[in-house]
């Protein structure tokens, strides 16, 4: 079977969950082969092996940290060409999409973005038009390049002992045109990453700017916190947590929307959530139409009561 390359998304070797999801999907279509770019491979090795990476291509180069995206695209293109891989899977993040876009041009291949599923023949499922339609598509030219959304699949343990291949890449002049002059890591919140979380609790205009009840409920559920565009535009919560068309798209097991009316802009970012729970004062809020369970009430009383009840039940 041919190799399916998976670009490892990591910070200093700490592998993000989405990469494990990609390895699980890759195993359906061929031999999962991880591509690890940058430093910290030692910390990633066991995690990658435990999830089915029979092969790992390792490229260590300072350029990955110093310059934006292009060195990664060049390294990945080099490995995709030399390995004869049958497909390349990349996480659907801003950076992942830019890498995929450049890779597709370099390889002369078609690209599909934001897949929510990838089949054994590398055909894909996407959710489009704010979740209104499901599209099945396939790349017809070249080596399929596919970006996959977080939570597309549950990562499956598949122990393998990775065969490591160190690869040296000669970068072109184009690789060094956009220089990263400063990087400030986002302050850790102790909560799961928004796009990866299995539960998300989001607040909107109805919070009145007070996200404490939203955060407390999120912490009781081990959830990530999200925010509507209205709440972000009002400066109540950082943009990094915005759920919607112009923010993050999430697809958790449970999405709890508090004080969010449910404009198309927001629905586009959460419509594919498995279970949707709504708390809103306004019984006419359009988001109730999507709710598996809804409470018409003030989030400032309903959320703290729910949090207390959850803590009680957890003992």
């Amino acid at each position: 079977m041919a190799e399916i390359l998976v670009l490892v998304d990591h910070v200093d070797g700490q592998v993000r969950k989405t990469t494990l999801e990609l390895l699980t999907l890759a195993a359906r279509a061929g031999e999962p082969a991880a591509v690890f770019l940058g430093s910290g491979y030692g910390a990633a090795r066991d995690t990658l092996g435990a999830h089915g990476a029979g092969k790992v291509y390792v490229v260590e180069a300072g350029e990955f940290e110093q310059f934006l995206v292009v060195p990664k695209a060049e390294a990945l293109a080099h490995i995709a060409s030399s390995s004869g891989a049958a497909g390349v899977l990349v996480t659907s993040s801003p950076e992942g999409k830019e890498i995929a876009a450049r890779l597709a041009v370099k390889l002369g291949s078609g690209v599909i973005t934001d897949a929510v599923d990838v089949a054994a023949d590398l055909s894909t499922t996407q959710s489009v038009f704010a979740g209104g339609y499901t599209v099945t598509a396939a790349v017809t030219t070249g080596t399929p390049v596919i970006t996959v959304k977080p939570n597309a699949v549950t990562p499956e343990p598949a122990p393998a002992t990775p065969v490591e291949e160190k690869v040296a890449v000669a970068f072109t002049a184009a690789a060094t045109r956009a220089r990263i002059v400063d990087r400030a890591p986002r302050a850790a919140t102790g909560r799961p990453e928004l796009t990866e979380a299995s539960i998300v609790v989001s607040g909107g205009r109805g919070t009145g700017g007070d996200f404490a009840p939203v955060e407390a409920l999120a912490d009781a559920l081990g959830a990530a916190v999200g925010a509507s565009r209205a709440a972000v535009d009002l400066g109540w919560y950082p943009h990094a947590y915005q759920v919607g068309q112009t923010g993050k798209t999430v697809s958790p097991q449970l999405y709890l929307a508090a004080g969010i009316s449910g404009a198309i802009q927001h629905r586009a970012g959460m419509q594919t959530s498995k279970t949707i729970v709504v708390v809103n004062k306004d019984p006419e809020a359009p988001i109730f139409a999507m709710a598996d369970f809804g409470v018409v009430g003030d989030l400032h009383t309903v959320l703290p009561q729910a949090t207390a009840e959850i803590e009680k039940r957890k003992g």
């Binding site: 690209v111 599909i112 396939a138 956009a178 449970l254 999507m290 809804g294």
Partner: protein, 260 residues
């Protein structure tokens, strides 16, 4: 300095969007407009133009006959000129073909220093065209930019990623895709609307760009949509009114569903 803003004409996201018989986006049966996310790029271009001397802003679109509405909006906001690439052969073009056409149009416009566009279109939403364009033109590119400044031949941009906020420097010419955090787009003024009527709009076909019609369009796309299925409406759930026990009932639902 010459700035080109890429503006896409998209079906209104608040209207009923669907697909045509050939599985392409239905652009005829729905009202279209300038993709909201591209308004931020137009605004940013105008801000740079207003802050400097001799900065020219040209709006560029690739799209069907009606797409000139997106150009008109950009001109009303304050862009100085517009270019519309329209050709029947373009119907169903994939992102890469679109990027090739844009690259050719940017070449024909000539002496372009900076290309600004939105972080994504509000229809396809792939976010790949800026990076593809950069790859084709061999220019620097920075995407998902929340803050931008241009000084001499250098752009400085802030980009907020999942794990870090980065500051990036790139030399011109460059392509920058901006988020909705970068500014607050202006509404066209009455004066702007009147002035737009006199601004030049050029219409180019593939022949004007020396592009072979066989390399664009649905037939030349490198991926294919096999099936389009309308997602079933979510079944109506249970809605209760809080009578002092709303939070407890919420917790009960979550416990029943094994979330606790």
């Amino acid at each position: 300095m010459r700035i080109v803003t890429l503006v896409k004409y998209v079906p209104d996201a608040t209207a009923y969007r669907s697909f045509a018989a050939d599985n392409t986006t239905d652009r005829a049966g729905v009202d279209g407009l300038l993709s909201e996310l591209d308004e931020y790029a137009v605004e940013e271009a105008l801000k740079i133009a207003e802050a400097g001397d001799g900065v020219e802003v040209v709006a560029l679109t690739v799209g069907p006959a009606g797409a000139d509405a997106a150009l008109k909006k950009a001109l009303q906001m304050g862009a100085g000129a517009a270019v519309h690439v329209v050709d029947d052969a373009l119907h169903g073009s994939d992102a890469l073909a679109t990027a090739r056409v844009l690259a050719a149009a940017i070449g024909k416009i000539g002496s372009v220093d900076l290309v600004l566009t939105g972080m994504a279109s509000t229809d396809g939403g792939m976010s790949v065209v800026p990076a593809m364009l950069a790859e084709l033109l061999r220019w620097a590119q920075v995407g998902f930019v929340g803050e931008l400044s241009v000084s001499g031949s250098l752009v400085t941009a802030r980009r907020d990623g999942d794990t870090a906020s980065e500051t990036i420097e790139a030399g011109l010419p460059a392509i920058v895709a901006v988020t909705d955090q970068i500014n607050e787009p202006r509404y066209p003024s009455f004066k702007g609307i009147m002035a737009a009527k006199k601004k030049p709009v050029q219409t180019w076909g593939l022949a004007d760009l020396d592009l072979d019609p066989a390399t664009v369009g649905l037939g030349a796309a490198w991926s294919v949509v096999r099936e389009v299925v309308k997602r079933p409406e979510r079944a109506a759930g249970m809605v209760v009114t809080d009578e002092g026990d709303g939070g407890v009932r919420l917790a009960e639902f979550l416990a029943d569903q094994k979330f606790i």
